[in-house]
């Protein structure tokens, strides 16, 4: 049987992959996909904790799954707004490469 540590390790590694996408890639779309990976890693650890921490009558802690539901909803809204911003940016600058977008750099 997989232990809680296994799930947390997989969740942490998924988070690391998302962080790698944000830190290493220079394409805005890939950075956005990295953000999605990090959100999903958080979801995985929440669901794992909900399954491993049963209530008195032997059911998983459904509060955590409700929280995951909220996270998924907010992430969907975030993707819609973020992609609209990327499209607006592409219209103005004809690029989605972050190194070309340095007009706010000091």
């Amino acid at each position: 049987m997989p232990t809680l540590a296994n799930y947390l390790l997989v969740s942490g590694l998924l988070f690391t992959l998302g962080l790698a996408g944000v830190l290493l890639r220079r394409n805005l779309l890939i950075i956005f996909m990295g953000l999605e990976l990090m959100l999903n890693a958080a979801n995985l650890s929440l669901v794992a904790f909900s399954r491993f921490h049963l209530s008195i009558d032997g059911f998983p802690a459904y509060n955590a799954q409700t929280f995951v539901f909220f996270i998924i909803t907010v992430a969907a809204a975030e993707v819609a707004v973020g992609l609209a911003i990327i499209v607006a940016l592409f219209r103005a600058k004809q690029t989605v490469h972050v190194e070309d977008l340095d007009s706010l750099r000091f």
Binding site: F59, P60, T66, A75
Partner: protein, 172 residues
């Protein structure tokens, strides 16, 4: 059996997650992300969270990724593959990630309570859709309403953002 399934799903999920980051073509990244989300849903099933798994497939692997692919198609990205890699940025990022993974392994290994296996459920038949729905409407009713307003605001915001500049100038 369950341990083998867990590792198969986890390794495949991490493999496709790695492909998202390291493939050069955004379309291949997006397709890998779809596969990654599907295997993540499989992991949710191993945790008896069927409702979350279905939502994951429907919302993430379905709606969100279709949106991503549409935007990639719309942007018509060229010249991405020919960029050279910034080595110092990769070295710095790699160092941060190495430190993070190191810390993660130490923290997870430090607490013996994390080595627990899955406790048995109270009843073999659980209806988690009903349970999550009950929690959602009883304990989290206000956040549920707030999130409806959030979705409305996001919709209006996206419409406003995607209006062309000339159209807004003509109005004002």
């Amino acid at each position: 059996m369950q341990l083998a399934l867990f590792w198969i799903f986890a390794v495949l999920m991490l493999l496709f997650g790695g492909l998202v980051v390291f493939l050069r073509n955004p379309v291949s990244s997006a397709m890998s992300l779809v596969m990654c989300f599907i295997f993540l849903a499989a992991l949710f099933v191993t945790l008896d969270a069927f409702f979350i798994a279905v939502i994951q497939i429907l919302v993430y692997a379905g709606a969100v990724m279709v949106l991503f692919l549409f935007i990639i198609m719309l942007l018509d990205l060229k010249g991405e593959q020919t960029r050279r890699i910034n080595l110092s940025a990769w070295a710095g990022g790699g160092l941060v990630l190495f430190g993070f993974v190191n810390l993660l392994i130490r923290v997870i290994g430090s607490d013996p309570r994390l080595q627990m296996t899955k406790p048995a459920l109270g009843s073999p038949e659980i209806s988690d859709v009903a349970a999550v729905g009950a929690v959602l409407f009883k304990d989290f009713n206000l956040p549920f309403q707030v999130i409806a307003v959030l979705l409305l605001v996001a919709t209006v915001g996206v419409v406003l953002l995607s209006l062309r500049r000339s159209a807004t100038d003509a109005q004002s």
